[in-house]
Amino acid sequence: MNEFVERQMKLTWRPPKKSYDVVIVGAGGHGLATAYYLATRHGITNVAVFERGYIGGGNSGRNTTIIRANYGIPAAVRFYQRSVDLYRGLEEETDRWLMHQQKGILWMAHSEGAVRAERMRAKLNTEFGAQTEFVGPQQVKELCPQLDMSGGGRWPVLGASYHPQGATARHDRVVWALAEGAMERGAHVHQNTPVDGLILDGERVAGVRTAAGDVAAGAVVSAVGGHVSRIAAMAGLRLPIRTHRLQAFVTNHYRQQFGPIVASSELFFYASQTARGEMLLGAEIDPQPSFSYRSSHDFVQDVCRRALCLLPFMSNLRVLRQWTGVCDMSPDYSPIMGQTGVEGFYLTTGWGTWGFKAIPAGGEQMAALIATGEVPELIAPFGLDRFARDRTMADRGSAGTH
């Protein structure tokens, strides 16, 4: 027995019905959170979530579990701060151990330009309700004693922005808790049931075609990751989305001694220690669009090399496993949430490398939109129509690293 064996969650599977009020495509974090908040906040439980594989098997189970709100534009800071706040209460609300751990994020600067960018980030975050401060080298060293402040002699740490509310939670448990919460209130989740098409009734969406037959729906929400372009095409929509690989890896587990999450947008990597003791490392998306789940050796090679510049203690740790997810990237590095122009069809996508941290707020806001028909203020700037209106949400704070 290990202390991480799941002992609380109960997943209840039911056979599919012919009709639901709401059908959600994709049982990842966002799809399940939408079902969860529909059930808990709006009492809407005649809901089905269709999943082509198993729950949380896409990016919800492949991300690096970081929760933060230190974004680069006001609307994003507000939105992600809402998510940080919801995450902080989620263990209590669901009465489940999600391994949520507030550990703080240090975003390292190695050049004057980066110092300037991190200072700006701190000020902007503070203005919009996310706690971030710029800290000098001495404080950085106190927060993370393992850092080689000379950066291997080549990447000196000139300072960092410090976001104390930065946290991690076990990604699978978040998914399961939301699934359980939705299921116990009556929502259905159907695994191994791909959605192959949308049923259109004139200008509106009336249901979905699934591997288990046609299902009528009052509203259809696409919460898929990686293949959103295909689902959107079924509704006749062309999305400004490109899909890219994102890779990560963990070492074996070691004793728990590494405190914060550290990131460097100049060395392009970030690292944290999981609750189990693994060092978890990630970096930027692969530059070429791809739907491949293949991992590459040069990714591990390069990230190891870069990480050693700042964290030389890792040199003798063994790397255990690497994996890959595929990220839907929008042109402005911000998510796309809301209505689509096709009646009854809703989208939550463009989750790039920031989907996990947005799960509760994304689900809460999408549920509010579907339940009330009104676009909530918090996500109004993130509508699909923003590209046509030249109101893109260009966010450098999201694109830095993860």
Binding site: S111, H297, L308
Partner: protein, 933 residues
């Protein structure tokens, strides 16, 4: 005999002993118990060796002096708290091996596969774990990554096929007590006996073990279908008895023993094949067998890595976790060192029994064998930060260098205030060599540029230059620069276009892509590295240049080619600092000479170079934007208040359609200049700048500051920032920054009329006795026929010529070369040629050809033996077999061109990379010689 320490206790190893065998012979067992397989398939023999945790003791050779800790987590090592820097050059090189076929595993099937391939005249590489060669992963490429006996990392690049002949692992027991010490697999038992280790009273369970003397067994129970069933092992830490019963019979039989030998069947070691399903992989022998599913376990530890029991599996199954992946994630079974090697067969039999459905194995992922972070970093190349040809000059003047836009730039020379004053009051030098620089010519050059930049190009007369924007298709600003039309009428339509330092990396690709997309007949020569550039700025700039021998200087908005201080220069007169400025573009090899002569000529004016920090302040006072700092991903010219740089009436250009569309949307924000009067916005010693601070229009959040130097000039403290229009669509005039009043202004705070930059200059007024003459000495091109000097190979400056012309014209040129015999000509691209001759020839077949002196490269000759050894070690890609041959690509992350002749090879690298390449070359050759010696 080799002596090593296990938890401080001395252990003797015999020759050939693995760590595990040596330990067991001394009676020292790894911690945690469990069945030992001695095949690398289980986590039960993990120890820490010399600070490296999670080391499989069955796979490591025992060597003298090793320090072993039985705690496989590394003990209470302080390692996790260490911030001790890595020694320099910590990324060890990788050994690259190219072959036709790589065979992984050298058992019977592996040897057979290798023999067949050799018989077919294929170039075969074999890897075998028993020789210390552990394969960590199979990747696209295809690429097989392995470590070798000496702990080095191998990259094997097979051209045809990967044969996985890794054999089969033995199935481990899962019953109560299966985590006691004293359990071994049948193969492990044979190995231990062969090593002379006494198993004591041994009981065999399952298949009859081979290689064991019959009299060494106290009992044998054929466990399996229809026979005996394994019930449990008893003991306290170590096995004391095995308990079995016949299938269908409750009567238990208890056999006292010291060792249990388990022959429970095989499970294919196919992880490498599974992780490479879409690559040319062939699986043979035991690795290709169908997995035998063991009976569904009833009780005991299923996953020894994560300590997951059958009860744990049952618990999550009952909670609805029915998929293989969910079972794994909910228990962590299969996520440890052995990556499911032990538990996977049991997880499948468990799911089959509970759910009635045989589920596929979970995804196999690298790393199959775990290397350390340091080992994995081997061969990694960190991007080289580009250096200006003046890098060392800055260092010798005490500059603090900073990375900006992919280049090392002097941030300050430590005299910030004087750097500023020298520009405003006297004269100063700034190194702007990092600007992107493109020569563009051809019949379509003007038409091409009209489609590239939003400025009217046709009205730029010869000898004139103009500030231009570069947009993407969405009408957002990508970059900015200056566009000069050549003065020389003979040059036809020839232009010189610059980009910012940060944009220089992708500038050429961007231009070439559009030229191809538009089908324009143009020549493009990237001179970013070929030309250095020095900005002479300040009220005395013209006088300084006159003293350095400048005869005719261009007026504002013009440029001209003229020698200055004995160096061929293109002098461009625009201004970023707000003062009288001349930008001198010149061959990179002459940069240091020119820099020193200009400093000498300016001594009387107390000339002082200025760093990037001062430059950013100077331009801010003029309200000039910096791409990336003041602009964002959605910056249209309208938002940037740069409509004046966009001509929508001149025909199509990149971004025009988007601008026409977005101009119909109401404007939402604008980049503005703000001026704060006393008291200035909050500033502290820690953060003197208001950059990032919120701008408020009354109570309304109205934007943020993008640029603030924290300093005031004559007209108050200038800032740039994004300002959102109010609900009525107006830009507020009076705002607050950090709660302090600031006012939006329409011009610059410094010299708003631009009189200083545009000053009319009379250079003839400099009295002749003050003017130093410098003869213009054009160096001879490098004669590469001369033998390299004796001693270790060293990079040297290449004096050459680069040509951009039509492919047909270059074909003709090479057929009848106008340059002296002995010069080498390298066709670096269909439309580009590098010749080690002086640029005093014409390209007959192309009147638009660009022929320019090229000093951007350094070169070294290496003898055949040396180059082979060096490239074997450092070069990932396959080299050409023919001689002579030109190849280009990265070597150790550094761009290089290689010219292979019979017996020797020329390596060319851009001069700013030469120092890095030299270090790599010297270090690598020394290490190779060290190993060879």
């Amino acid at each position: 005999m080799a002596t090593f320490l296990v938890d401080g206790q001395r252990v003797e190893a015999r020759a050939g002993d693995t760590l595990l065998v040596a330990m067991l012979r001394t009676g020292v067992h790894p911690t945690g118990g469990g069945c030992l397989c001695m095949g690398g398939d289980c986590p039960n023999c993990l120890v820490t060796v010399d600070g490296i945790a999670y080391t499989r003791s069955c796979q490591a050779r025992a060597t003298a002096g090793m320090k072993v800790t039985r705690d496989h987590l590394g003990g209470e090592e302080p390692a996790l708290l260490s911030d001790e820097p890595m020694p320099a050059g910590n990324a060890a090189p990788v050994r690259h091996v190219h072959c036709d076929t790589v065979v992984i595993g050298q058992g019977d099937s592996g040897r057979e596969a290798a023999r067949e391939a050799r018989d077919a005249d294929l170039d075969v590489v074999t890897l075998d774990a028993r020789d210390g060669q552990h394969v960590t992963g199979v990747y696209p490429g295809p690429l097989v990554v392995a470590s070798d006996q000496a702990g080095r990392v191998l990259h094997v690049h097979p051209r045809r096929e990967i044969v996985v002949a890794t054999g089969a692992a033995e199935i481990q027991p899962v019953v109560p007590g299966s985590d006691l010490e004293g359990l071994v697999t049948a193969r492990a038992a044979a190995g231990l006996v062969a090593a002379g280790i006494d198993l004591g009273r041994a009981v065999a369970l399952g298949e009859s073990p081979a290689g064991l003397p019959a009299d060494s067994l106290v009992a044998h129970f054929p466990v399996g279908e229809g026979g005996w069933e394994l019930v449990r092992f008893e003991g306290n830490g170590r096995i004391e008895a095995a308990v079995v019963r016949r299938h269908g019979d409750a009567t238990e039989e208890r056999i006292e023993c010291d060792t249990a030998v388990l022959g429970l069947g095989g499970n294919p070691r196919n992880a490498l094949a599974r992780m490479a399903s879409d690559l040319p992989v062939r699986v043979v022998g035991g690795a290709a067998m169908e997995p035998e599913l063991p009976a569904c376990p009833r009780e005991g530890t299923v996953c020894p890595c994560s300590r997951v029991t059958v009860a744990d599996l049952d618990g999550v199954w009952k909670r609805g976790f029915h998929e293989m992946e969910l079972l794994k994630r909910a228990t962590l079974a299969g996520t440890g060192t052995c990556q499911g090697g032990v538990c996977l067969p049991y997880l499948r039999s468990f799911l089959l029994e509970r759910g009635g459905r045989l589920q596929p194995a979970f995804t196999a992922r690298p790393l199959n064998r775990q290397l350390t972070v340091r080992e994995l970093a081997a061969g990694a190349h960190t991007a080289v930060t580009a250096r200006s040809p003046l890098h060392d000059e800055h260092l010798s003047l005490g500059a603090r260098m900073d990375r900006a836009g992919g280049w090392w730039r002097p941030w300050t020379y430590g005299r910030k205030d004087d750097e500023y004053r020298s520009v405003r009051e006297r004269v100063s030098l700034g190194d702007v060599s990092s600007l992107g620089k493109m020569a563009i010519s051809g019949p379509d050059a003007e038409a091409f540029l009209e489609r590239i930049v939003p400025t009217k190009v046709a009205t730029i007369r010869p000898g004139r230059c103009r500030y231009v924007l570069m947009l993407d298709e969405r009408g957002y600003l990508l970059d900015d620069g200056m566009l000069c039309r050549e003065a020389d009428e003979d040059a036809g339509d020839r232009f010189f276009l610059t980009s910012t330092s940060g944009g220089s990396g992708f500038f050429e690709l961007w231009l070439r892509d559009w030229a191809e997309a538009f089908g324009c007949d143009v020549r493009i020569l990237n001179q970013t590295a070929s030309l250095a550039a020095i900005n002479i700025t300040g009220p005395q700039a013209a006088r300084l240049l006159a003293r350095a021998g400048a005869r005719e200087l261009p007026a504002f908005g013009r440029h001209r080619a003229t020698p200055i201080a004995g160096v061929d220069c293109r002098v461009v007169r625009l201004s970023f600092t707000g003062e009288l400025s001349y930008e001198l573009h010149h061959p990179a090899a002459d940069a240091r000479k020119l820099w020193r002569r200009l400093l000498a000529a300016g001594a009387e004016f107390s000339v002082q170079p200025h760093g990037l920090e001062t430059l950013l302040r100077l331009r801010l006072e003029k309200g000039h934007i910096v791409i990336g700092q003041d602009t964002d991903y959605d910056s249209t010219p309208r938002r940037l208040a740069h409509e004046w740089a966009v001509n929508l009436n001149k025909g199509d250009f990149v971004g025009r359609q988007a601008i026409l569309r977005t101009n119909k949307q109401p404007l939402d924000k604008r980049l503005v200049t703000l001026r704060a009067d006393d008291p200035p916005p909050r500033r502290t010693a820690e953060d003197p700048s208001a950059e990032g601070a919120a701008i408020h229009d009354g109570e309304r959040y109205a934007g943020y500051v993008t640029s603030d130097a924290g300093t005031a000039a004559g007209g108050g403290r200038p800032m740039l920032g994004w300002l959102y229009l109010d609900a009525e669509g107006n830009l507020p005039r009076e705002v607050t920054v950090d709660g302090r009043a600031a006012r939006r202004i329409d011009g610059a705070t410094y010299d708003p009329e631009g009189e200083r930059a545009r000053a009319v200059v009379d250079t003839a007024s400099e009295s002749p006795e003050n003017v130093r003459e410098f003869p213009l000495a054009r160096p001879e091109a490098t004669d590469l026929a001369i033998e390299a000097p004796p001693g270790p190979p060293r990079f040297r400056q290449l004096e050459a010529t680069r040509v951009s012309a039509t492919p047909a014209a270059l074909d003709a040129l090479i057929a009848e070369p106008p340059w002296p015999a002995g010069a080498l000509a390298f066709r670096t691209a269909p439309d580009e040629l590098l010749v080690t001759a002086s640029p005093d020839f014409e390209v007959a077949g192309d009147p638009h050809a660009i022929v320019e002196r090229e000093t951007a490269f350094s070169y070294v000759w290496l003898g055949e033996a040396t180059v082979e050894r060096f490239l074997d070690r450092e070069c990932e890609w396959r080299r050409p077999d023919a001689r002579p041959a030109l190849a280009q690509g990265e070597i150790a992350g550094i761009p290089a061109k290689l010219w292979f002749e019979a017996g020797r090879t020329l390596i060319l690298t851009p001069a700013p990379f030469a120092a890095a390449f030299q270090r790599r070359l010297t270090g690598s050759l020394a290490e190779i010689d060290g190993v060879a010696g």
